[in-house]
Symmetry: C2
Subunit: 925 residues, 2 copies
């Protein structure tokens, strides 16, 4: 208590401006500003350690010595201001406010004008000669202190206030005179007396002690605890709150006084000019309260030209010192400018990018600093269309934010209708209970997708993310009746053609068109990303499945394609029937016949992608999902067959024919059959459906995620992989012959042993020889493996003997590592796991560094043991997530691959990783 | 070719008897026997290296110098025998036979009597004075040489043989005279001439060269290649075949000659006495051919007493030298005993155990050697009832060998009927398309289970294995019609009550009763296992779910229970309705009410298990499977509801009541309801069914293996785990109070992070305090985790901070490591993977040391970093598999746990692991 007692109190001139953990953010800043010579009202900080000592004490007693030191500091304030606390001609009043290391807005309100009592009030009125000012300050103090420090409900004060106002007959506070304000002050004292059973404390030091304790207590209040949990603020980030005691200054002492807020640059656009607003003869509260309309900061140049110059000088000093855009508060008291507070300015992404770039160009920041100033995740705002922030619409329903971006369009309830309208140029939103592969043409034609079932990994979500289209999934309140062409949301009805707006970034759904703001690929962003590319060690590629995707990826700066999912090509409406033929085939010959029809289609796709992406590498993943995913569900087939049997019984001529035809793609009905009439036609369709149903039953799996898929299929039906490899190599040969540089990379999914790779490589070698012979050119092609099965990690040395590259499929790897089926986990227990802190994040969104990441690090190390130059990338969704990218950099990956709109995010994150800074600043601020 | 040429040929007296890789097994043995002074006919070995040199040469030419050396060796044979090869008065004949390092039965037939031609045949006849003997030897030689060395089909020889026999009018070869045999020999020469287009080689050295090449060629013949693939014989195990050239000796030279085979001990019982049979005046072939009935070896003692003494001496020397039971061949030629061959004797498990034990007691073997002499897997034979090996029945159908053992009984097609008959003492086999948890009472009542659907991990298989009852699963040809009470197998019908026999060790199903041989826990086995326990480092525990299981496990020598699956207790017929109540409960209060009813039941079970197992530890796993597994399928419920609606329409009085009652367990129908009549009753059942259906739909999962189960359930519904923990601790307290020593260990399934463990440990601590207070005793309890999720391995350090023990659940861990759903993999692609050598074994049967094992080794190492004394075990099915047990020992596990009948296997394997020998000898022999 004597020699070892910590120091509880620091005057602003003494505190270390960098020690936010000890002094709180606000306190440290006040110290820092004082230290660099800005005109800050004098004051002192009571440390967060004092707070913890107070809270740790069972009786919540202030640590010994604290109050004595505070008195000493108050004496110092008296000397500096020439005023006296609790007495004298010119009484010293102070503000008391909380402040922890992390900004926690609204944790505890500020108490202003502390030190007022009957005596000091009289002195204040005498000294200022302004009775109204005095009583106004008094009633404000009683109410704030009563509420904040004594816990008196605000409503009790408001009640008194309204009583007086209505008696006097005025509507606004400012119209009350000194007498009424005095009466209100007196009524407030009675309110406190009645509510607390004690008289309002009149001793200023007693007031100070109560206020300090109230601030400390607020650290363990419900509001603060909730906030810390919500924003994951740990004790290492902020532990306890400091108390700032500051001498009051007044912007409301006449027309030579004012108060205002400033931004060193525009938070809306980033423009490099002083920005802000102020009110003459007013207190800070008044600016916020919105009773008077503040004036733009520029007006001060004419109103108080000398002070405007001082303000600009203040702004310059702040930026030079903090090297970051500042959001500051100032007060002018009788011609003297005080700076009350400053903090890093919050800006939208565009402004942040622009200021970072310009501050580098002005020499304020190094390039590295400019790059690390922008939170990569923040860029999402700029890269996807978003709802106009000004809109006031109320959402009709809310689902999961499954694919970012906003879009409006006419609601349609099936993919065919979406395609018809879409081709006519109508903007549509595809609304379904859930989507299936056969809906894919509807995706292409729509602005966005809305489903009422399924999670972030549902078909709709995954496909929409791949296409970069907005998607709201699992909006549970919505029920779609396809036959009636309506959807129900509670008691509301959405008819086909009604316009809806979806916001895939928040999951909200609106009726009507909500204005949107377009994606914003500004010159500053282009410049910043250019710098980023120069610093990054990790390459950034895109996941892209079509020539269109590839073109877009290139625009977003991808240096190649890291994942081209060939099964996506299977899903297009003109191909799915052929794929179904292939699946239903009973002999390798029949299967090969179907594959022969697919070959030219896939080849043409690859030619388009290779040409679009040249000269960058394109990694093609061979067929991955279980083939039953390409078939309708068993129940759907059973229903169809039952309805077709009914139709057959009805026999209503051509009408039946038309009805029946809807059940099967036209390609399946030979023209000659139509001549035989509807019965024969229906029988043919029924037979087809039954064949599909038999196959669907035979293919049924208990756990499709862990079933007959990927390379297991490829080895069971070598003709499928062989066809795909042929399509890739023929497309490459075609490009080579016409002088286009190509670097195809063939990648095998779901590998668990090198034997699988050996077999597929044999297929590849055989096809490569044939193709080179036929086309008369050398066809370059690399061969690699997905690493998405845990065993692949354990066998990395052996896999790397065959594979020239690894690509981590962290979606599947995460499922296998946790034994979590993503769909089941996200629907059933993962939210609860996050809420209860069992897992900090959703591992399907944020790479689980401790588990999955440890496995990846082993695989990289072991793989490079047998192939030192092994190229390693990641193509799971995590490849576009900044923190995950930084981890990938740390374990020595060569590239990340993500969906096109995330490429800029990844480029920035990759640069930040290389620079060695997380760059994710003031996240919870 | 000169100085560096390898040595291609070794005389028996020169060869190294231990070098089987070079000399082949047979050749090495002949050298060895010669070396130790047994009377072996003189001969030499041409090495396997010569074979490889021959095969490696494109033209298949014998290596230079080989034939010269062979001639030198033949000259040596001539000296030793006093005979001449290809001439003289007493011509030397030799046998030529193949022999690789691994015994490969039937790879190439032996050629006897090589060296015969017109000249030597005449000399032989002259010298022996036995014309018939000469011609018989001659025709045998031509046929064998023709077939084996020249590739002439046997049928062509047989045709000639039959022609002569039918002309002469005799049925048996022995009835042919010298003339006929000569004629046959001549006809054979013509056969060879016709088929090969060349004359039969008459030059003995040409014969020898052709024979050597034929032996070498047989190494790459189809038969040999298939055999090596089938038994996984790698070049490291056997590479090429040697050729053994041995001077002929004749057991058919009169009544002072004989030939026979001997076992140094009885291969049937292991009894320590000479065993075997012989024929006087016969060749080895005749013993095998079964034309004359051989005499028991004991008869030799009276027939040729001197030679019997020599034979016993031979037997003693063989055993003393080889220290293992020998299976040997001998020939007596005119009063001289020759030993032609010896090898380790094949014995059944009982005989092997007995001989190992007795040979130790006789001082022939050390204890360690005795322990390693028995292949643990071999013990299966003794531990499960099996079909009498003498039976000749033809199987009706074949399925998967899902749970070992054999059983007969009346076929019944539903669990209720099985229970009824079973309680009456009737032996029944439960025959179902597939089984579900609600059939469990039928399992208890049945001798064995037969299903037509599902693999080795189907409900039937897993439950049957757990109970140690035989099970044949997935016998696809069988179709069960429960309503008609029949099953169809092809065109055959099995009616209820027809007796069937199943062999769960082979998967075969028989009509009628096939005699079985009971499990055989011999005194020798008990002794051997006792020694094993003294050597083993690994402890062996059993998986057991009931007091009965526990009692059995103790009889098999388990030192505790490593896995008690609490959900098995939920499945009993009297409990399932309560469990369903718990699942359907909409509020925690309702759920708790159901749990309150389960508590005393589970507690009683635990009391039984603890008392039975005292003082050994009992590890209890909290609820693991997804709870929808306790509900009927959605389709079943939909069907039930539809049929109940029909019944309701029918309204046929009491009959309906009875029909309806079948749809719901009686416990669900309050007696009062019956008074309201059938409609009300049916409505009640429908409502109940609909509630269950709603729940089943809500619980539906895409990948149940990776879904809402294990600790995820335990945290979602803390009341379930709390009830289970309470049941365990109250049972333990009850035991402690009555002086029974208990060591309960509570184990949490599906853990992926230490946070989960922390939560469950908190439940446990709370309950433990309450129970100790209530019962007034200290209740010991350890707390640990299953390690069956990959992430648990990656987080082993953290888990070990909370868990006092780890138990590897290698079934689930294997699924997650491979991303193979066991059911889907075994049905769809795993057999193909094994067939094509992509994976050597089924990783669900043989622990995948390279992948899963590597993960386990990391988890053990990392776990012990933070808790050095961490106890680690394994409780997956692999815990009972010998090779897997040896691996578990190598990575430092403390115990293995397996189903009760596998406990002796595990005890022996654990000892062998400690001794450091694989002990799995002559697997492919």
């Amino acid at each position: 208590m004597t020699t070892t007692a910590p120091r509880w109190v620091y005057a602003f001139a003494e505190g270390d401006g960098r020690n936010k953990l000890l002094l709180g953010g606000k306190g440290a800043n006040l110290c820092e500003m004082t230290r660099i010579g800005l005109n800050v009202p004098p004051g002192f900080v009571i440390t967060t350690e004092a707070c913890l000592a107070y809270l740790g004490d069972a009786g919540r007693n202030l640590p010994a010595g604290l109050l004595d030191t505070a008195r000493t500091e108050m004496a110092s304030l008296e000397r500096q201001t020439g005023k006296r606390f609790g007495g004298g001609d010119d009484p010293l009043l102070v503000s008391v406010r909380s402040g922890s290391a992390m900004s926690m807005p609204g944790m505890m309100d500020t108490i202003l004008n502390l030190g007022l009592n009957e005596t000091t009030l009289a002195a204040l009125i005498r000294h200022t000669g302004n009775e109204r000012f005095g009583y106004d300050a008094w009633r404000r103090f009683i109410q704030l202190f009563g509420k904040v420090a004594l816990g008196v409900p605000d409503a009790l004060f408001d009640e008194q206030f309204e009583t007086v106002k209505s008696r006097v007959g005025v509507k606004q506070d400012v119209m009350l005179g000194a007498d009424e304000l005095r009466e209100i002050g007196e009524r407030f004292l009675q309110v406190v007396q009645r509510h607390t059973g004690q008289a309002f404390p009149s001793d200023p030091y007693e007031q100070l002690e109560i206020a300090i304790k109230a601030v400390f207590n607020s650290w363990t209040g419900k509001r603060a605890i909730d906030y810390r949990r919500e924003f994951k603020i740990t004790p290492a980030m902020a532990n306890g709150t400091a108390v700032n005691v500051v001498a009051m200054v007044y912007g409301n002492m006449g027309n030579d006084s004012a108060t205002g807020v400033g931004f060193t640059r525009s938070p809306a656009t980033g423009e490099n000019q002083l920005y802000g607003e102020y009110l003459t003869n007013a207190q800070g509260e008044d600016v916020v309260a919105g009773i008077r309309t503040p004036k733009p900061i520029g007006d001060l140049a004419t109103e108080m030209p000398g002070l405007y110059v001082q303000l600009v000088e203040l702004r310059n000093r702040l930026e030079r010192h903090y090297r970051e855009v500042q959001d500051f508060e100032f007060t002018i008291e009788r011609g003297t400018l005080f700076c009350l507070q400053t903090r890093n300015g919050k800006m939208n992404a565009a402004a942040r990018v622009r200021t970072a770039v310009e501050m580098h160009e002005e020499g304020l920041l190094s390039r590295e600093e400019a790059i690390t100033r922008v939170d990569p995740a923040h860029l999402e705002q700029m890269l996807f269309p978003r709802l106009d922030p000004q809109h006031k619409s109320q959402p009709l329903a809310t689902g999961l934010p499954a694919s970012p971006g906003a879009a409006s369009g006419q609601a349609v309830f099936d993919a065919d209708r979406a395609e018809t309208l879409g081709k006519q140029g109508t903007k549509v939103i595809l609304v379904r209970e859930e989507t299936k592969p056969e809906d894919i043409h509807g995706f292409f034609a729509s602005q966005g997708i809305l489903t009422s079932r399924g999670g972030k990994t549902s078909h709709a979500a995954v496909v929409a993310r791949g296409m970069g289209k907005p998607c709201v999934a699992g909006a549970e309140g919505i029920h779609v009746d396809v036959a009636m062409r309506v959807a129900f949301v509670g008691d509301q009805v959405i008819k086909e053609g009604d316009v809806v707006t979806i916001d895939g970034s928040t999951g909200r759904v609106f009726r009507g068109e909500v204005p949107t703001v377009e994606a914003d690929f500004s010159a500053a962003l282009v410049k910043l990303l250019g710098w980023a590319d120069q610093h990054a060690r990790l390459g950034v590629r895109a996941n892209a499945d079509t020539p269109q995707d590839a073109a877009r990826a290139l625009r977003y700066g991808a240096k190649g394609i890291g994942l081209c999912r060939t099964e996506r090509m299977f899903n297009a409406a003109d191909r799915l029937p052929i794929v179904v033929d292939m699946i239903v085939a009973e002999t390798p010959a029949d299967r090969r016949a179907a594959l022969d029809r697919l070959l030219p289609i896939q080849r043409a796709d690859f030619v388009g992608i290779f040409r679009g992406m040249a000269p960058h590498p394109v990694t093609i993943r061979l067929l991955d999902p279980p083939i039953h995913e390409f078939l309708p569900t068993e129940r759907q087939l059973e229903d169809d067959i039952a309805r077709l049997h009914d139709l057959r019984g009805a026999a209503r001529g051509m009408e039946v024919l038309t009805d029946a035809a809807r059940f099967a793609p036209d390609t399946l009905i030979p023209a000659t059959l139509r001549d035989f009439g509807e019965t024969r036609l229906i029988d043919t369709i029924i037979a087809r459906k039954e064949a599909i149903l038999r196959k669907a039953r035979a293919l049924r799996e208990v756990n499709p995620m862990l079933g007959h898929r990927g390379v297991r299929l490829g080895i069971t039906y070598p003709e499928i992989y062989t066809m795909q490899i042929r399509a890739v190599l023929e497309a490459a040969a075609d490009c080579v012959r016409s002088g286009v540089e190509v670097h195809p990379e063939i990648m095998v999914p779901q590998v668990c042993t090198a034997q699988e790779l050996n077999l597929v490589r044999d297929y590849m070698s055989a096809v490569q020889k044939q193709v080179e012979l036929t086309y008369g050119v050398q066809v370059p092609c690399r061969f690699g493996t997905m690493v998405e099965v845990v065993r692949a990690c354990m066998r990395a040395e052996n896999l790397a003997e065959v594979a020239e590259f690894f690509s981590f499929g962290t979606n599947d790897l995460t499922q296998a590592t946790f034994s979590f089926s993503r769909e089941d986990a996200e629907n059933k227990f993962l939210p609860m796991y996050n809420e209860r802190g069992i897992l900090q994040d959703n591992p399907f969104e944020v790479l689980d560094v401790k588990g999955v990441g440890r496995l990846m690090a082993l695989a990289v190390e072991w793989g490079r043991r047998s192939r030192p130059g092994l190229k390693v990338g990641i193509c799971g969704e995590h490849g576009g997530h900044p923190a995950s990218i930084i981890f990938c950099d740390s374990i020595g990956l060569d590239y990340v691959s993500c969906s096109a709109p995330r490429v800029p995010i990844a480029r920035l994150a990759a640069a930040q990783a290389a620079i060695g800074s997380a760059g994710v600043t003031d996240k919870a601020a």
